[in-house]
């Protein structure tokens, strides 16, 4: 049941993506989106550090990207 729910959510996502054809900004309107602070990951080192901390202390990992390199963190 859970698998069906997850699968359906994926389809919704893809459908939403297909519907997004009119959304967005023209290339000359992308000055804000090109700013450093608007990148999805502004500081990759900080993101890697946080990912590693939470991977060691919690049961979940990743989501944004891959869960990072494994470690024998205790």
């Amino acid at each position: 049941m859970r698998r069906i729910r997850v699968g359906f959510t994926c389809l919704l996502v893809l459908a939403a993506a297909a519907a997004c054809t009119s959304m967005g900004a023209e290339p000359w309107e992308r000055d804000v989106l090109a700013k450093e602070q608007m990148q999805l990951v502004t500081d990759p080192v900080e993101a890697a550090i946080d990912d590693h901390i939470y991977f060691s202390k919690e049961a979940s990992s990743g989501g944004r990207g891959f869960g990072g390199g494994g470690c024998g963190c205790n």
């Binding site: 900004a25 023209e26 290339p27 000359w28 309107e29 090109a34 990148q39 999805l40």
Partner: protein, 300 residues
Amino acid sequence: MAAAARQTSPSVTRRQDHWCGDFVAMASPCQILSKSDRATARKQLEQAAAEAGRVEAKYSRYRRGNIVDRINSANGSPVLLDEETANLIDFAATLHRLSDGRFDITSGVLREVWIFDGSDRVPEEGQVRAVLERVGWPKAVWESPVLTLAPGMQIDFGGIGKEYAVDRAAALAASLSDAPCLVNFGGDIAAVGAVSGGPWRVGIEALGAGSGEAFKRIRLQQGGLATSGDARRFLLKNGVRYSHLLNPQTGWPVVDAPRSVTVAAHTCTQAGMLSTLAMLMGADAEEFLERQGVRSWCIR
């Protein structure tokens, strides 16, 4: 989604460290970025928009009754030009000579047989040759301030007009304030004013890359920046891509031109000329730019 429509009372909005004003002119989204105070930025915007409108009205080939229309419908009769137009014709003549004929403001009539709509309708040799009869700056008689074109010939300021307007608008902005100011008419840019604070960050759309890292980021503090590209106008037949840049001496498109050339020079006019000439050099674009000793970025 195009930029805001022409406004009767233009206004500037605050970005983090500068004022920004938008308008549309010469079929392009235009903007003025100014680090001056709000009132001055508004004046700079008004004057830039007015100048862009004036240059467009005067030199667009689509307007009835302007100087370009009169020259193009003279049908062999001499036309007396005003000082500004005479200067532009002088400039075009010099460019024709400096570029060994590659830059030619009479080449516009070739658009009668070349329609770049992404289709595969490439004209035949015979059609091109027929139109080529009416192309060639040497066929015109230019004795400043009188210009006489042969019947059937047309001039087109499309290759100079926008960059010229940028430099004129930038000069007007600089006369109003010393603070840094950037004029951007659809990608043709000039940065004037004091060199203080951080540089302007200009992004060049890097074709063919993933999102996010897509821009080549150039830090511009002083000078002009112009980009020539063939991204959207081309013909594709039998796997051969015909770029919209036509060689005025053969009547056929330039082969192996880069997808995009961006040049930084003292003025936007110079940058525009160099980027256009580089594209016209086709495969030798990079070599040409190196010889000119300018900063440039080619994307193939």
